[in-house]
Structure formats: C-alpha cells, structure tokens
C-alpha cells in the first residue's frame, strides 16, 4: 500500500494509467468482437442471404428470373459471383434504366448494405469470383506503374483509349472512362468482364499485374496536364478543332483588323 501511495503522485502515473486503460479496453474489445463475429457470422450470413433474396425478388427478378436463372432479356446470374454483383450494383449499372445499348454508370440505387446482401445471395447460388478484400487491393504497395502502363496499352487501350478516357465500340456500345473509378470496381471488372469487356482471369493477368494496371490508372488520373490544357486526352481531333477555331480564328481576326486600319 505504502509503495502505491508513494508512486501514485508520480508524474508518469497519469500517462501510464492511460496506456493501461487503453490496452485494457482494446484487448477486451478485440476479444469480445472476435467472438461475436465468429459466433454470429453463420447466423448473419443466412440472414444476409435472405435479405438479399428479398431485394432480388423485388428489384431484379423481373428480368433475371425468380431464381436468378435468367430470362429473355437478361443473363443467368448463377455462378457470376459476388464480385460481379458488387460491380454492377455498386456502380449503379444495375438495375438498368435503359435497355437500348449497355448498362451505364450512374448513382447506385442500393446502399452498401443492400448491395452486400444481394452479392451474398447471388454468391450463395453457385461459387464465382469474390469481392476483393482491402488487403488484396493495396496497389500502392503491390503495383508497378510503368509495367502497369505497358499492360494497359497491351490489353486495355484499344477500347479505353491510351489515357483511360474511354472509347467507342460498335452499335453505340462504348468502353467507359476509367477516371475516378474505385480500384475495387476496376479489379472486379477485370475478373468478371462486364458488358462487352472480356474476362481477364488470374492466368491471363496475375493479381499483381492487375495491381500494376490499377496503379497506372490512378497515376494517369492524378497526372497533371504537362503541356497545358489536356483537350480531353483524346488525340488530334480536338487539337485540330482548336487549331482551326482559336488559332486561325484569332489570326483571321487580326488580318481583318490589319486590313481595316488602312482604309
């Protein structure tokens, strides 16, 4: 007791107590939360799947069928995996608003929880590509920008343009711009091949190479416009337009002025 009363007014006592308290709380929480998740995961999962099934029946089944078996206008979702659902619903492509050409990126209809539930339901039908975890998506650590650029030009640029600005495909279909796309969605698109996009399996492009591609896209997104206004990074069409309109336009204006002054 005496020793305690001797040290309790020591100047290090406060901070020490704080550290002890924090450690205590942290340990308790981690043990408690770990047990809760492991105990409730099975229960939660089936609840989540059921929730997803309900959303599916309300929002998706009219096209994809009551058991996601597909129909006249929509493909079967059996085996497409959680990654596919997360990409299509998370980027707002599904549910589709306009069936004419292809699903376009828009504000998502379902929130993160509902999307997760839908993904869980579809994943429960048959195994398929899974949603990548955050640790899998550490492109800053695992990627190489220059290598990613080369892979991008080899595999992606023919549709998405040299700078990831997107491009036209046949019959009004298009490869969308890759600027401002969440790395998770880029990864999911690569492994599931949405719309007209081919699937880039892990054998074609390894997960590490996928990280390089994402790292390059993110670098392109952040890259400052080194030569001045970028003109959309779409090549010589906009350059020619600007040359005629602004360049020759100004010079004709000056010529008119020069000839006018002499009158």
């Amino acid at each position: 007791m005496k020793r305690l009363s001797r040290y309790r007014r020591h100047k290090a006592a406060g901070p020490m107590l704080l550290i002890l308290a924090l450690l205590g709380i942290g340990t308790t929480f981690s043990i408690a939360s770990a047990t809760t998740t492991s105990q409730t995961s099975k229960v939660d999962r089936s609840v989540q799947i059921e929730e997803g099934r309900q959303i599916f029946l309300r929002g998706c089944s009219s096209c994809h069928g009551l058991n996601a078996e597909g129909g006249q206008i929509a493909p079967s979702l059996i085996g497409v995996g959680a990654a596919s659902v997360d990409f299509q619903v998370g980027t707002g492509r599904m549910p589709m608003a306009d069936m004419s050409t292809q699903a376009m990126r828009k504000a998502p209809l379902y929130d993160a929880q509902e999307t997760a539930a839908l993904a869980a339901y579809v994943a429960s039908l048959a195994p398929g590509p899974e949603i990548p975890s955050d640790s899998q998506l550490n492109y800053e650590r695992d990627g190489n920008t220059a290598q990613g650029g080369e892979l991008f030009r080899n595999n992606c640029a023919m549709c998405h343009n040299f700078a990831g600005q997107g491009g036209a495909l046949t019959q009004g279909k298009y490869a969308p711009t890759l600027m401002g796309v969440d790395p998770k969605y880029i990864y999911e698109a690569l492994i599931t091949g949405p719309q007209s996009m081919p699937v880039f399996s892990d054998k074609t492009i390894t997960p590490a190479e996928k990280m390089s591609i994402i790292k390059w896209i993110k670098a392109a997104e952040k890259e400052p416009n080194l030569g001045g206004a970028s003109l959309g990074r779409v090549g010589p069409v906009t350059e020619g337009l600007l040359g005629w309109i602004l360049g020759l336009g100004i010079l004709i204006g000056v010529a008119v002025w020069l000839a006018m002054k002499a009158r």
Binding site: T145, F162, E239, G243, W244, G247, A255, V256, A262
Partner: protein, 527 residues
C-alpha cells in the same frame, strides 16, 4: 554623324558596288492591294518560318533511330520500359531540355496552323477566281505545296515513334501495300524489310528535315516570285481595272504590316503552345506493333483520308495470285488522286468551259460565279463529310451516337450531300445576284414608312452610293459559248460529244441574273 547620314553612307557604299538603288527604288514602291483575305497566305508563310526555326531547335536533341533503349529519364510512368531512341529522345526534349516541350508544341501547333492557313488561302483563291490566267501555274505550285504539306506533316508526327504515330505508319504501310502488284515490293523497299524494321524513322527524318523543307523553300520562292511578277489580284471597285493595282506601297506600309503580322502569328502560336497541350507522346507510350489505342486519329489534314478509309465497304478481289484490297485502294489512293488532279487542272477546265482566254487581275465576287462557287461548296462538303467520319469514334462517345450510324450516314452523305450543296449554293448565289440587282435599281430599304395624302403607305428607298452601284454592276456577264452542231457552211463539227458536253457546261456556267444596266435605271426614272 547623324543616323540619316550614317544610313546614307551605308546605302551609298552598297549602291556604288551593286547599283541596287534603282532596282530597290522600283521594288520597294511596289503596290499591294489591301484585303484581309490576302493575308491568309502570309499566315502560312510565317508559320513556315516558325516551323523552320522551332524544327531546327528540335533537331539538336532528337535522335532519329529505332535502336532499342531502356528509358531512364524523369517521366516515372515509363521508367525502365524498352523503347526506340527516337521516342526516348522526344521524351528527353519534352521533360529535360529547357523549353523543349514548349518548342515541340510550337512546332506542332505551327504545323496545324500552317496547313489550315494553306487551306483557307486556297479557298480564297478558288472562290474569287484568282487562279485564272495568268496564274494557273502558280495555282499548281500551290496545290503542290498543299500536297507536300500533308506529307511533311504526316512524316513529322510519325518521327517520335509513339503509339499513335506508329499506328499512322502502319496505316500508311497498308495503303502502300494496297497498290496492285508492286505494293508489297514498295513497302519492303520503304521499310527496308518487314514492318516496322529499323530503317523507316531514320529515312523519313532525312526526308522531313532536308528534302521536303528544301522543296518547300524552292516552291514558296517560286510562288512568291510569281505573285511579285504577275502582281497581286485585287477586288473590283471604283478605280480598279485589269491594268492597274490599287493599294499601298511595300515600303513602308506593307513592310510594317507584314513584319508586325509575323510577330502576331508567332505570338498566337506561342500562346496556343503555352496553354494547350498537343501530341502528348508520353501519354501514348512507345510504339509496339501489338498495341493500339481507341480513338487513334491522324492530324486534321489527314483526317478526311482516314474518314474515307473508315467508310469504305470491305471489298477485296483475288485474281491470278494477287489480292487487290479495293477498300484501301479506292479511298486511300484513287479518290485522293482524282481529287488532287482535278483541283490542279481546274483552271484549265474552267477556261475550257467558258472559252475565256483573257488575263484576269480583278477578282470575282463568289456570287457572280455561281457555278464555280457551287462547285467549291460541293467539294468542301465532300471533304467535311469525310473528315467527320475520320473522327467518328470521338463523335460517337462525346455525342452519345453510334459509330455505325455515323458510318452509314457518311457513306451515303459523301455521295448525296455534295450535289445538294451544289444546288443550294448555286441558288443562293443567284438569289444574291437578284438582291444586288434590286439594290441598284430600287436602292436601300430605309425602314421609314411614308403615308401619302390619299392614305397609301410606302416605304422610302434610299439610292445607294455610286461607288456601291459600280461594285454591284462592274462584273462581266459573258454569254454561254456558241457551239452549234453545224458550222456556218452547214458542215458538222468534229468532236460532237465533246462539244455537246462543253456547250452544256457553258450554258450552266453562264446562268446568271441579268445585272442592272443604265437602261434599266433610266426606265425606272421614267416612271
């Protein structure tokens, strides 16, 4: 010693040794007519000077070699990649040479302005009939400069060996190969073997920096000397005849104007280069035959050619062990060949139709030559439709259209729209002639209404000035050629079909609204 006497001493020194004073006096006082559209050619000339200067700067660092190197420069997204020395040195110019990127952009923007100024100048010369005798030769030199400009521009943007330019070279190779029988041999000769090889960039470099600029200098000199010798054309107006030139002397007025204009052209190009990126080769990446980017386009002056190739239906014939790719041969070589030959020969064609072999130094107002103006509008429409298809993928993505729609629209449009443009333009010209006639006969509508004592309302017309009336009535309205099938002696003329065609075209060409004459005016006064 004052400045004047100093200059005088120098001038005297030169004159005593060369006798240049008389020549200088005569030529420095040479008169040039004044109009903004006469300055379009000057824009092209000054852009050419800028191209020479900025191009020389670029040669100090550019390495025209397809030798493979590993990039170790400052641009991180390409670090450690294999590329050609040409591409690496262009990156070096862009990122490590002081002012290098600006100079590259000056060179490229100047090239775009050079070509657009040439086209604008050509349109001015065409629509005003400045190509007529005695200037047919100079017209042909101009067509030569335009053609060389297209080739020079293409070679220029092919030099950096980036992904976009490599794609362009690949298409050029395809067009060469489309030549029946000899195509593959010429391609092997040009590339020194299979595509892409190691020889093409060094070869086109020599052509780009030595051969073609030399040809340009020679042709531009001839072009200007002919303008000097044949004198500049002028717009019609009071006091302006076929025998005089009304304007300002070269010294001091035009020296000052032209000198100032050079710096303005330089300024505008430098401004564009400072604020707007052009040909960002670091984004395209190094060229590898296996890669391609969506939306690969040539520069605009090649865009119509690309558009024609893009709209060509897939036609191919195989005969006697040879393949003929009509889908490349027709849009890539035959159509441009016909277009440029027709353009070069146009002065002779027109003079054949009109039978007019006289000299012309007064320009036509486009409306007073309806057939020629309509023909110009027709060709321009053809080019524009082709150009639009050249950018069909960019148009598709940016205006939510489909490439197929644009392609089908232009496939039909390139055949249907030009004749429509011809008819509309011709009618417009004739309407404008009618309006001119009205203006001369009845004066300008003032918008002032007058109520007469008996209650009638009339609009007050104000007579136009004599100068304006002269301008609106000074032009000639030559009748169509008389080419009867039988001559005065009742003998059938030779070349019946040819004459028939000629007289048909001549009748169409002579179609006009009869201009107001003095008699018409007198008749009105009489009322």
């Amino acid at each position: 010693m004052t400045i004047e006497s100093g200059l005088g001493t120098v001038a005297n020194y030169v004159d005593e040794r060369t006798g240049a004073a008389a020549w200088m006096k005569k030529n420095l006082q040479k008169v040039f007519p004044d109009h903004w559209s006469f300055l379009l050619g000057e824009v092209a000339l000054y852009s050419f000077v800028i191209l020479l200067l900025s191009g020389t700067f670029l040669t100090f660092w550019f390495d025209p070699s397809q030798r493979e190197v590993i990039y170790d420069g400052g641009y991180q997204p390409l670090a450690g990649l294999k590329m050609s020395a040409a591409y690496a040195s262009t990156l070096h110019i862009s990122f490590e040479v002081r002012g290098g990127l600006l100079m590259r952009q000056v060179h490229h923007w100047a090239a775009l302005i050079f070509m657009s100024a040439i086209v604008a100048h050509l349109l001015r010369v065409f629509f005003t009939g400045a190509f007529r005798k005695p200037r047919e030769g100079n017209w042909i030199i101009g067509i030569g400069l335009l053609t060389l400009g297209i080739v020079e521009g293409f070679l220029g943007y092919s030099l950096p060996d980036d992904l976009l330019s490599g794609t362009g070279i690949r298409i050029a190779e395809a067009i060469i190969q489309a030549l029946p029988v000899v195509g593959s041999y010429i391609s092997y000769f040009a590339f020194g073997g299979a595509f892409p090889g190691e020889s093409f960039i060094p070869r086109i470099y020599t052509v780009h920096v030595l051969l073609l600029p030399g040809a340009f200098l020679a042709l531009i000199t001839a072009h200007l000397m002919l303008v000097w010798y044949q004198k500049h054309t002028q717009y019609p107006g009071p006091g302006r005849t076929e025998k005089n030139v009304v304007g300002y002397p070269l010294m001091p007025t035009y020296m000052a104007k032209a000198g100032g204009f050079f710096f303005i052209v330089f300024g505008v190009i430098a401004f564009l280069s400072a604020v707007a990126s052009i040909n960002p080769i670091w984004l395209y990446g190094p060229y590898t035959p296996g890669q391609i980017s969506a939306g690969s386009q040539p520069d605009w002056y090649m865009g119509w050619l690309d558009g024609l190739v893009r709209m060509a239906p897939p036609l191919e014939t195989h005969a006697l062990g040879h393949t003929i790719s009509w889908n490349i041969l027709i849009p890539g070589l035959i159509v441009p060949g016909i277009l440029f030959t027709g353009m070069a020969l146009y002065p002779f064609i027109e003079s054949w139709i009109t039978g007019d072999k006289r000299e012309h130094h007064l320009l036509d107002r486009p409306r007073n030559a309806p057939n020629r103006t309509a023909l110009g509008a027709m060709s321009l429409t053809f080019m524009l439709v082709a150009l639009i298809n050249g950018g069909n993928d960019i148009i598709a993505t940016h205006f939510s259209l489909t490439i197929n729609q644009i392609m089908w629209f232009t496939r039909f449009g390139v055949l249907i729209l030009p004749p429509i443009a011809f008819v509309i333009t011709k009618r417009l010209c004739l309407s404008l002639q009618r309006a001119d006639r009205e203006l001369v006969l009845h004066g300008r509508e003032t918008g002032t209404l007058l109520r007469l004592p008996h209650g009638e309302f009339v609009e007050v017309h104000e007579p136009i000035s004599p100068e304006k009336a002269y301008l609106l009535t000074a032009h000639e309205q030559p009748p169509a050629l008389e080419l009867p099938a039988v001559d005065a002696h009742g003998v059938k003329r030779a070349g019946g079909l040819r004459n028939k065609l000629r007289s048909r075209m001549s009748v169409a060409n002579a179609e006009a609204i009869t201009k107001a004459s003095v008699n018409d005016l007198k008749e009105i006064d009489h009322h």
